[in-house]
Symmetry: C2
Subunit: 230 residues, 2 copies
C-alpha cells in the first residue's frame, strides 16, 4: 500500500527535544507508523496552520498521504492561503482522531481509594512540512483523482463515483477553480493519549465506560491497543 511506503518517511524526531512544541509525555508518544497512518486515514480533514504577516492562518483541508511520504491536497483558487504563504514555507498539518472525556467513574479502583481525577483521551498527529502549490491542470487532476479514488472506494466500493462520470467541460472548469499543493514532510509528532498509563482493570473499565456513554469509536481505539499489546 502506498500509505505504508509513505509512512517510513514521516521522520519521527529524537525523543530528547528540550522544549516541546506539543506536550507529549513519553508514555503517550505515538511512534507506530501503522497507528499514525490509521489516524491520518481515518481523520483526513487536516487543519493546516501557518504563521504569516496577516497573523496565524488556519484552513481545514482533506489530505492524503502520497506514496512518496508527502501530503497531497487542493484548495479553492479563492482561498487566500496560496497567496499568503510563500512557496516552500513550513506549515503544520494537524490530524485529530477520536477523543472523549474520561470520568473517574469509569475506574473500578475508584471505589477503593478515590484517588482519581477526570482526564481527556485523544489521538493526534502533527505533521510539519514545506508546502508547494501547483497550478498546472495535470497535477491538479492527479490530486483530485487520488483523493476521490480513496474516499469513493471506502464509501461506495464498486459503486464509486468517478471523475469520468461528469462531463469533461464541467470537470475542466472545476479544476480551473482550485490549486493543488504538496507538503514535503520535515517532522512528525504523534500522541496517543488512551489511558495506557492506567492499571488493567481501570483500562478495561474505561473501554466499558466509553461504550456505555456512546463513545464506541474511541473505545475501539483503546481495545485495539489492548489487543496489539497483549
Amino acid at each position: 500500500m502506498g500509505r505504508c511506503l509513505g509512512l517510513s518517511r514521516l521522520k519521527l524526531p529524537p525523543k530528547d527535544r528540550r522544549n516541546q512544541v506539543t506536550y507529549i509525555p513519553p508514555h503517550f508518544r505515538e511512534i507506530s507508523p501503522d497507528t499514525i497512518g490509521e489516524i491520518i486515514a481515518s481523520a483526513p480533514l487536516a487543519c493546516i496552520v501557518v504563521q504569516t504577516d496577516e497573523g496565524l492562518i488556519a484552513n481545514h483541508i482533506p489530505l492524503l498521504l502520497g506514496p512518496d511520504g508527502s501530503l497531497i491536497g487542493h484548495i479553492a483558487l479563492a482561498n487566500d492561503m496560496h497567496r499568503l504563504i510563500a512557496e516552500g514555507s513550513e506549515v503544520l498539518a494537524i490530524f485529530r482522531g477520536e477523543d472523549g472525556y474520561i470520568s473517574p467513574n469509569f475506574y473500578p479502583s475508584k471505589a477503593e481509594h478515590h484517588r482519581h481525577v477526570p482526564t481527556w483521551n485523544y489521538q493526534v498527529v502533527h505533521v510539519y512540512g514545506d508546502i508547494g502549490f501547483q497550478h498546472d491542470e495535470r497535477t491538479k487532476r492527479a490530486a483530485v483523482g487520488l483523493l476521490t479514488r480513496e474516499h469513493e472506494r471506502r464509501l461506495n466500493g464498486k459503486d464509486a463515483w468517478r471523475m469520468a462520470d461528469a462531463p469533461p467541460d464541467y470537470i475542466e472548469r472545476q479544476l480551473g477553480d482550485i490549486v493543488a499543493f504538496r507538503i514535503t514532510v520535515t517532522r512528525t509528532l504523534a500522541k496517543s493519549k488512551l489511558s495506557q498509563n492506567r492499571e488493567e482493570r481501570d483500562y478495561l473499565g474505561t473501554i466499558s465506560g466509553l461504550r456505555a456513554t456512546g463513545r464506541s469509536a474511541l473505545a475501539e481505539r483503546l481495545e485495539k491497543r489492548w489487543h496489539n499489546a497483549g
Copy 2:
C-alpha cells in the same frame, strides 16, 4: 446559561476583511451565536496554536466558555506551553465539530446532469484571543471545578463525580501539577460547511447519504439547519 452570556462577547468580525486567514465564502460563514456555542460545547477539545521562537506550537486542551466570554482551561505544569508563550500573547483556539466526505452519489440531481464533484462538510470555530496563565490554587481549583461539573453533569447526571469525592491531599497534589489559563477573546471566525449551497433535493439526499454511510452525527447537523431554516 453562562454560555449564552459569554457568546455575546465572542466578537464576530466585519465581513469585508481583505485577506482571509480562514477561507470562508459568505454562504458558509457561521454567525449564529447559538450554533457557535453548540460547536464549542459539543467539541470542547480545542487545538491551541501559537507562534513562538521555537516555531508553531500546538496542544489539544478541553476548554469551557466562561460566563464572561473568555475560554477557560488548564494544562500540565510539565507542558512547556506556559513557558514558551509570553503572558498576553495572542493564541488561536480551534474547535472542530462533525465532518465527513460528501459523495456526488448523495445527490438525486446527479442522475440528470452529472455536473457534481465530491466535497467535504464540516463545522469549525476559530477563536483568537490573548492568553494569561494562573498559578494560584484558588484559580486552578475553580477552573478544574467548572470543567468537571460541565462534563460530569452531561455524562453522569445525578451520579456525577465531584472533586470532593477524592481525598483533599490528593486533589491538592493534582492541583500542584497544573497551570490554569484564560483566553480573552479578541475575534471569532466560524464556518458551517453543510451543503447549504445545494438545491433542496440534493440537500435532503446528502442527509440520507450520510445516515446510510454511518455519519449520523453530521447528518443531524444538516437536519437541524434544515428545520431552523424552515
